[in-house]
Structure formats: structure tokens, C-alpha cells
């Protein structure tokens, strides 16, 4: 019995349609997060994720196995997200999408002299997760999407470039900027959520 991904796909196309449930299961999370990185609304992202999965099922025959299935699926999810974003015209998000690389912002990290590596248990704090979610949500769209594909879904640079239809150089630039914006945003927070290290923060910055 063929149970590899390519094998599953072949069996689905040969008529064992029910196996599509199994094929999609490892990627459910990825599909949702991709949609959410584009439309930032839970309900719409979930609707979009369902639509993307249905589309993937309907077009499975056109998957040629040249790209990885995960990348192919991510591309479908991105297209669905972009379609929905265009429909909700007039949103602030849309104008940000159009700005492309025109962010002359400050992409330098936050320098700290009194920083010590925070203990891993500090990363367990719920508040820190919330702060990170909020900071990612506030990133301009083009940075949030690259960050989501690379650091959340762990696609590589080539896969991210392919899925978003941009070149690998742009992926690197956007990823760097996204990470630096998040670092700057979260450093003060990491500091205040690490009380065990309070003694180290006595000196002036």
C-alpha cells in the first residue's frame, strides 16, 4: 500500500478520493496561517483556508510534482488570500500592500547594553506570546507574509520566493526587516518579562 505523499496523490487521482483528508492533514495549520497572514481576520482566514483546500482538491490533477506539494498548496492559499483582500476593497491593508519596498523606515535592531540571554522559561510566558502575535499582526503586509512563510511555516528562501512570486533577494530583504522590526518591538517586553534577571538591568542603557 502506497502511503508516501506522491503515492497518496496518485491514489486520490486514481479514484480513492477519501484519502485527500489524509493528504491535507499535515498542512492544515500552514494553510490557515498563510491566509491569516494576508487577511488578518480569523473568520475570513478560516473561510479562505477551506476554499483553498477545496481548490487544491479540485485542481490536484494539475499538480505535477515539480514543486513540493506544500509549496503548491501554499501558492493556492496565497492566491485565495489575495483574491479576498482585493474584494474587501478600500481597506488600509490594501494600500500597504501596494507600497512594496517603499518603506524608508528604520530597520535597525534595538541595541541593549544590559541584555543577557533570557532564560528559556521566560519564553513560556503567555504575555510574551500575545505580544509577539500583536507585533506580527502590526507588520506591513509584505513583511508579515514573508515572515509567516519563512519563520512560522519554515519554508526555505526559494520556496517562499516561488510561493509569493518574488525573487529570493526580496525574500531576504523583507525577512531581515521583519525580524528587526519584531526585535525592536519585543526587546523591551522580553526584558520586563524576565524578572529573574532584574539585577542585570540596574545600569542605565
Amino acid at each position: 500500500m502506497e502511503t508516501t505523499e506522491a503515492g497518496l496523490i496518485a491514489r486520490i487521482l486514481a479514484g480513492e478520493k477519501e484519502l485527500f483528508h489524509e493528504l491535507i492533514r499535515p498542512y492544515e495549520r500552514m494553510v490557515y496561517l498563510t491566509l491569516f497572514s494576508i487577511i488578518k481576520n480569523e473568520t475570513d482566514a478560516e473561510d479562505g483556508a477551506q476554499e483553498a483546500v477545496i481548490n487544491a482538491y479540485r485542481h490536484l490533477g494539475s499538480f505535477r510534482g515539480e514543486a513540493k506539494f506544500s509549496t503548491w498548496l501554499t501558492t493556492i492559499a496565497i492566491n485565495e488570500g489575495r483574491k479576498r483582500l482585493r474584494k474587501s476593497k478600500g481597506t488600509a491593508e490594501q494600500s500597504i500592500e501596494e507600497q512594496e519596498e517603499n518603506h524608508d523606515g528604520d530597520f535597525t535592531p534595538a541595541p541593549l547594553t544590559d541584555w543577557r540571554e533570557i532564560p528559556l522559561e521566560a519564553l513560556e510566558r503567555k504575555e510574551l506570546r500575545e505580544a509577539l502575535r500583536a507585533a506580527v499582526a502590526e507588520l506591513p503586509g509584505i513583511y508579515r507574509q514573508v515572515f509567516t512563510l519563512r519563520d512560522l511555516e519554515e519554508l526555505n528562501i526559494e520556496e517562499t520566493a516561488h510561493a509569493l512570486g518574488i525573487n529570493p533577494g526580496a525574500v531576504k530583504v523583507r525577512l531581515h526587516r521583519a525580524r528587526m522590526m519584531l526585535q525592536k518591538r519585543l526587546v523591551p517586553f522580553l526584558k520586563t518579562t524576565a524578572p529573574a534577571r532584574k539585577g542585570f538591568f540596574g545600569r542605565a542603557l
Binding site: I24, E28, T108, T113, W115, E117, E154, H176
Partner: protein
């Protein structure tokens, strides 16, 4: 050549991804050995990435998977019907 902090910051993301060339990597590592500021930036950025990759940080809506498979089951059933009718 000795790197200054700003130069290190520009490459910090690629350094984390291990996509800088060997020579630059060595220069950055030399700099990090004596620069607390850049070490702190590197550590804090890495911590953010650890937290990002943790499944508990970005959660799915409750019941998402069940609803997705229910919708998919409906689609599979209707495509079954279509192919029977053909």
C-alpha cells in the same frame, strides 16, 4: 577588516539563516566575541524566532480542523455524485 556594529546588524538575519559566506561569518563571529550589544541583538532575535516556531504562539481557531474536514467531506461527496452522473 574590523566590522562595526551597524555592519553586523545588516547581516544578522542572514547570519541566523547561515547564508553568509565563510569569510563574513568569521568576521561576524570575531565581532560577537567582544561586542555585548550585538550578541544581545542576536540572542533576542533568535529567541523571537524560537517563540514564533512554537505551535502554541500562533494557534488555530477552536474547531478549525473539524469544520475543514466536514466541508471537505461534503465536497468529496458531491464530486462523487458528479462523476456518477457523467
Amino acid at each position: 577588516m574590523k566590522l562595526d556594529c551597524k555592519h553586523v546588524w545588516e547581516h544578522i538575519s542572514e547570519y541566523i539563516d547561515k547564508t553568509v559566506d565563510a569569510k563574513l561569518r568569521e568576521e561576524i563571529e570575531l565581532h560577537l566575541e567582544h561586542c555585548e550589544i550585538c550578541s544581545a541583538i542576536l540572542d533576542s532575535t533568535r529567541n523571537i524566532l524560537i517563540l514564533t516556531a512554537d505551535d502554541r504562539t500562533f494557534e488555530l481557531p477552536v474547531g478549525y480542523s473539524e469544520r475543514l474536514h466536514k466541508r471537505l467531506a461534503k465536497e468529496l461527496a458531491s464530486s462523487e455524485k458528479d462523476s456518477e452522473e457523467e
